[in-house]
């Protein structure tokens, strides 16, 4: 592993922060440490959420409730949704890669508010542990990740209150992170670096952070009101006391629809970084990508009621939200075609990162099509609260975001550790995940269209075979984690050395050592005016000119 800091500088570093492995368990303010903290912590919660999913699919392998009691099933599905969304995808696509990459991309030494950054991370483990421990202490919440009243008011109170507290903490973490990203991208850019020269992930994170800052507080306020209904017996959302459950749904989805974009926009950004490198072509349509992201941000705030077409929404509201949702498919489609055009005719290196990215494109377009279908009122009323919806959003959040998370791990692992991952195991991981995922969630479209409701432990026996196929897919997905885990652990110890820039990439994080020094670059940060300047033969690619390597070798 390359040691980044020359000895004479290292000795001058005052040890205000722990070094070595212990720093990953400390209140470190180094954005790279915090990024990896987010990543590993998120992955640990992913394993928990995956185990819960395994329990769900085991229960659903037979039409009767035999594996666990029905109320336990409710707790398990609530925990599964909450853990996967708030503790795995949101922290990882935003916190992990955002913290690691954004300071590099803007040419900074760290995030704008390093201590706030550390606070934002350290809110997550306690909130997650609190949430999971509620299962053992009081029984977890039973009302799903949406916590719709009156269900959330009538199910056992203790678990629901703990659920609310954890989500409030995680929301706070998310807001702090969002503020930090906005300040970093807008205010901490290196002199001379223009907004339209930023790598696409910066734009994705800027858009995501705007959504976080605007929508997460509304959820926080709503959950406080919900907790009053539970604890102080107010009647905000309790029809028995004159309250209005639909207001909860509006406020909840005002956050939770943007939350879908909070989970998937950063993934769009990450895949826009990965594709050009491994296709050796510039990112197609940079400017349209930027405007598409901002259009998604704007429209994403006004489509929420398409989740509520069966909640007695008036006709004008149905019409408005259907049209708005159809509109949001346009910028999303632009991005999709831009990715295709990026890899079109490129010299594609079909490694694990690229394979996962291609898997993302395939899965995401399927999830996107079913999403547009679901926004159409007549269709939505037919399949609302069925497994069609379950299939749709898993195609977005797993087939979309999680595939990109894995692609990103394969792409940036050499940067994180200085070592390469084993390519064969990576491809095995990708194949198992892709087959398992589609086997698990593809058939659920059929289940939903034929009327199998979601969130129930028992179902009509005619659905048994398809459910068993789905469960086999889930098992494959569980198995697919094993080569990945082995690969990341084994390669960290004895993987082949990666060198500084194994992909010959041009984005700024590669123009330093792997792993990077504490201050990201020794010497001045490189000014990368064309982060996607590929398309010339490798021997003509002037890495040294852009990398500031001359400064590095002269010891400045």
């Amino acid at each position: 592993m390359t040691v980044a800091t020359p000895p004479e500088i290292q000795s001058a570093v005052p040890r205000l922060q722990p070094s070595g492995w212990i720093r990953y368990f400390s209140f470190s303010v180094d954005h790279k440490v915090i990024g990896l903290q987010y990543l590993v912590c998120g992955f640990a919660f992913y394993l928990v959420g995956g185990a819960l999913a395994g329990a769900i699919r085991t229960e659903l392998a037979s039409p009767v409730s035999d594996f666990m009691a029905r109320d336990v099933y409710n707790q398990v599905l609530t925990l599964h949704g909450t853990v996967m969304i708030f503790l795995w995808i949101v922290p990882v696509v935003n916190g992990a890669f955002g913290n690691y990459l954004i300071p590099f991309y803007v040419g900074a030494r760290d995030m704008a508010f390093p201590r706030l950054n550390a606070v934002a991370f350290w809110l997550i483990p306690p909130a997650g542990l609190m949430l999971i421990s509620s299962y053992f202490l009081t029984g977890a919440a039973q009302s799903g990740w949406t916590a719709y009243p009156p269900l959330s008011i009538t199910t056992p109170a203790a678990g629901q209150v703990i659920w609310i507290l954890s989500v409030l903490l995680l929301g706070g973490s998310s807001i702090f992170g969002g503020i930090n990203f906005i300040a970093t991208i807008l205010k901490l850019r290196r002199p001379g670096l223009k907004l339209m020269q930023l790598p696409m992930y910066c734009w994705a994170m800027l858009g995501t952070s705007i959504l976080v800052v605007l929508s997460t507080p509304v959820l926080a306020g709503t959950l406080v009101l919900l907790s009053f209904d539970i604890v102080a017996h107010t009647g905000f959302f309790n029809p028995g006391l004159g309250g209005n459950v639909v207001v909860y749904q509006h406020l909840f989805w005002f956050y939770s629809h943007p939350a879908v974009y909070i989970m998937v926009l950063p993934a769009f950004g990450l895949v826009s970084e990965i594709l050009p490198v491994h296709a050796r072509k510039p990112l197609f349509g940079y400017v349209t990508m930027v405007y598409s992201i901002m259009a998604i941000v704007g429209l994403g705030l006004i489509v929420w009621a398409h989740h509520m077409f069966t909640s007695g929404t008036p006709p004008w509201m149905r019409l408005f939200f259907t049209i708005a949702t159809a509109f949001i498919a346009v910028p999303t489609g632009i991005k999709f075609f831009n990715w295709l055009a990026t890899i079109w005719g490129g010299r594609i290196n079909l490694n694990s990162a690229m394979l996962f990215s291609c898997g993302f494109i395939v899965n995401f377009v399927l999830g996107g099509i079913t999403g547009v279908a679901l926004a159409q009122v007549p269709f939505d009323i037919h399949v609302h609260d069925t497994y069609f919806v379950v299939a749709h959003f898993h195609y977005i959040v797993f087939g979309g975001s999680v595939f990109v998370v894995f692609a990103s791990v394969y792409h940036w692992y050499p940067k994180f550790t200085g070592r390469m991952l084993h390519e064969g195991l990576g491809r095995l991981h990708c194949a198992l995940t892709f087959i398992g995922f589609n086997l698990c969630f593809g058939p659920q479209h059929w289940l939903g269209l034929n009327g199998m409701p979601r969130r129930v432990a028992e179902y009509d026996p005619q659905f048994t075979l398809i459910n068993q196929i789905s469960s086999v897919g889930a098992l494959l997905m569980a198995v697919s984690t094993l080569p990945f885990l082995w690969n990341v652990v084994q390669s960290a110890i004895s993987g082949p050395l990666a060198g500084d820039n194994p992909w010959n990439a041009l984005t700024p994080e590669w123009l330093t050592t792997s792993p990077p020094p504490v201050e990201n670059w020794v010497g001045e940060a490189p000014l990368v005016e064309e982060p996607y300047g590929y398309g010339v033969p490798i021997d003509q690619l002037d890495l040294a000119a852009t990398s500031g390597r001359d400064l590095w070798s002269s010891g400045k």
Partner: protein, 204 residues
């Protein structure tokens, strides 16, 4: 001393003590605070949206009481608006390097904030409805209570700034007075929210 360490020790610090790798950058703490206040405003927006929707579609049942008197909230509005002005005077004073005058205006601002809280308490105890009596009452208490929490925090901030502005050994000077500016922005924000709240809850 490397850049990250010095940034770590105080991200706000603008001092440059290293020979390499530390670019001086502007102070964007106010920018961060303003972004946070946008988020905070959205929380209130959620409460207001809920209240207005309840008003529009959920009529109170027979016999439920939700009546608000105007005199006390008008007094509260005046208290907060005046406190914004006095805080502004405190800011002017510190920019002229007059810590003593600054501290007097700060004390007056904090006093007005505490008077607001006291007056709000009086209103709470004289209102003919309680937290869980009906839907409008609950929303009224949630919104005003959440705002009152902000005023409480703001008053505490002012007192902390008052302490930091002491002439001997205080950290707030004519050149460097970020805590005062931050508290001032926050205080104006809380006052602005009150005006919106006053219109929505008391006038509409």
């Amino acid at each position: 001393m490397t850049s990250t360490i010095s940034q770590a020790s105080d991200e706000a610090s603008s001092e440059v003590s290293s020979d390499h790798g530390h670019e001086e950058h502007g102070d964007f703490r106010m920018f961060g605070l303003a972004t946070f206040l946008v988020a905070d405003a959205m929380t209130f927006a959620g409460f207001f949206a809920a209240y207005l929707t309840f008003k529009a579609v959920n009529p109170l049942p027979e016999g439920a009481i939700f009546e608000l008197e105007l005199p006390l909230p008008i007094l509260n509005t005046v208290l907060l608006l005046v406190s914004s002005a006095t805080f502004h005077k405190a800011g002017q004073a510190i920019r002229q390097g007059d810590n003593g005058r600054c501290r007097r205006w700060l004390l007056i601002s904090a006093g007005l904030g505490i008077a607001f809280l006291a007056s709000q308490m009086v209103e709470y105890f004289t209102l003919p409805f309680g937290l869980a009596d009906n839907l409008y009452a609950s929303t009224f208490y949630a919104a005003t209570g959440f705002h009152g929490l902000h005023v409480t925090l703001g008053a505490l901030m002012i007192l902390i700034v008052w302490w930091q502005a002491r002439p001997e050994g205080g950290r707030i000077t004519a050149e460097d007075h970020f805590p005062l500016e931050a508290a001032e922005l926050y205080w104006h924000f809380v006052d602005g929210i009150w005006v919106v709240l006053f219109v929505i809850l008391y006038l509409l």
